[in-house]
Symmetry: C2
Subunit: 335 residues, 2 copies
């Protein structure tokens, strides 16, 4: 059967250009005993993948050169030798960027429900939702009446953070880039204020938006935006450090050191990876699904169509050209 | 009665010069009902006082212009209208830089024992010891076999941190400036290794000293020394942020941002002030006194003699010209 894959052709410097990705025609391996074939339907692009493109030792294994890039995928079983999976089942897993993957049952999980838009399993009901839930509630610990600030607030993780913080009774201020996204924060997500980091008066607007200071800052972006946020930390503030997307493509990442600010505010800053919260994944999934069904947690998605749009969609994460969760739809077979 | 005080004459920029301090002849106020007069014997100079010399809102109230500077003092009661205090009693408290202070009993505490060198109540048995104990054990939480790194390791706080970490079974690496101090770390304090941050090969020596990475970094100095330490944080490392003495006299304090390093290591950084641990002060005091008596915790002190040496002694904290705790002896009356 004809198949196609995208491999890492070279390690990028800065924003990954087209030379970083190479398309290859390959054969689909026949499924062995207990194996199955999964057709990729939605493929996720996520900021953390930029780190895996480097050679440096990090928390996730670097992608290998000349091997397919991998990410979270929602797919459909097209052929199965496994008694627990039937043709047509919808599954998720971290899989190579191929149109078809031949896998064992260890590689995938059936989705709990097909009554929701399936790309949600790559955002609110998937890894980004777990990241938001685990980092905010375990490290940020927002209390009723406290002020929570979240950066990349319209993004896949940030939008869930902001909405959970509202459910918990906090005053929530979101930071995003551009009028459309900032309006979305208050009008659709129900946050208390939105601040546009692309505007010249960002520092003043942020100060106005947090008259009582900041108790929780959910860090997604790093860089100069966060430098400014750190000037407003309250005593015993908590800063879950989830991402620093503004710096992932930079060689240099210099700014004001945080030590004196942390001492002054007796604040806590904690880096985390979602796997840290794996014991809570099941409870978190159920809670998030309930909030989605009750209409309490909204999700925005940008869907690029076509396997050949993957590199561009990945780059959009860093240029801010996506809105909400960025996915790529590579097959119509679940429409 | 003739008295003398040192007031803050102007707010310093950078290292406080002589113009920042003004000597004034004053009268000693007669003690009222329940009051007493305390003769200053040992006056402490501490890095955190630099922050109080600025006008900026911080955790401690700024010193007022033209009012006496304050710090921890060990003194002797010379006159008392209070039934609980008698002439000759030894007390500690945060008091104005005067040779004699007239105070109520709220301002001072009697020392628990006069069998130890009394300046220890300004170091290991005082605020620096509490700072080391509280920050290391509550935030750093060193476990047996883990690697603990402490900067300013021969200083009043750092030397206690290193020795407690050894008592707790950790492998301890101290960072200090100059051969004499570095030798002291291993030879007198019993640390496993010392690294000299003033040497050109600091980065390489540090790397050699922490072959298994760093589980706890007790942060006293900030700046480029700490930038280097952050490259070695292990998964789930803890960084109690106690001080950033290298930056207190600088307007600019820029360096590599820590966000990506914290994410990669899932590390925690927490600023603290010693008052946070006040519920434990009594237990900590008793434990520290026991360790001192058992010879398990050594203390080094640099004693400058004379009230007029206070400004110079304060500056020594930032130039590294002191060794261990820096105090100023302003009276022989407890010899």
């Amino acid at each position: 059967m004809n198949n196609e894959q995208i491999v890492l052709a070279e390690r990028p410097e800065g924003l990954p250009g087209d030379d970083v990705f190479r398309y290859e025609d390959v054969e689909t391996r026949e499924p062995g005993r207990d194996e199955m074939v999964i057709e990729s339907v939605y493929i996720s692009v996520d900021p953390y993948m930029r780190g895996r493109m480097n050679d440096a030792k990090s928390y996730a294994k670097p992608f290998e050169l000349d091997k397919p890039i991998e990410s979270h995928i929602v797919g459909r079983v097209t052929e199965s030798n496994n008694d627990d999976f039937a043709e047509g089942d919808v599954v998720t897993g971290v899989l190579p960027w191929k149109k078809f993957n031949t896998v064992s049952e260890d590689a995938v999980n059936k989705v709990p429900s097909t009554d929701v838009p399936l790309h949600l399993y790559l955002s609110t009901l998937g890894m980004p939702g777990q990241t938001a839930y685990g980092g905010l509630l375990n490290i940020g610990k927002p209390q009723e009446g406290e002020t929570v600030v979240v950066s990349a607030a319209s993004g896949a993780v940030g939008s869930v953070v902001g909405q959970i913080a509202k459910i918990k009774g906090a005053r929530v201020v979101g930071i995003a880039g551009g009028t459309e996204k900032v309006d979305y924060l208050t009008e659709t997500l129900g946050l208390d204020a939105g601040v546009d980091y692309k505007k010249d008066d960002f520092a003043e607007r942020l100060a106005e938006a947090v008259p009582d200071g900041i108790d929780v800052y959910f860090e997604n972006v790093g860089g100069t935006v966060s430098d400014e946020v750190f000037n407003h930390l309250n005593t015993f503030a908590r800063v879950p450090v989830c991402g620093a997307i503004s710096s992932y493509n930079s060689k240099e990442d210099n700014g004001p050191r945080v030590q004196q600010k942390l001492i002054k505010s007796q604040a806590l800053m904690q880096g985390f990876l979602v796997a840290q919260f794996k014991d809570d994944f099941k409870d978190a999934s159920e809670q998030l699904a309930q909030w989605v069904q009750e209409g309490k947690v909204h999700s925005e998605v940008t869907i690029a169509e076509g396997f050949d749009r993957l590199p561009e969609a990945f780059r959009n994460l860093f240029t801010g050209d996506n809105f909400g969760k960025q996915v790529v739809k590579v097959s119509d077979s679940l429409d």
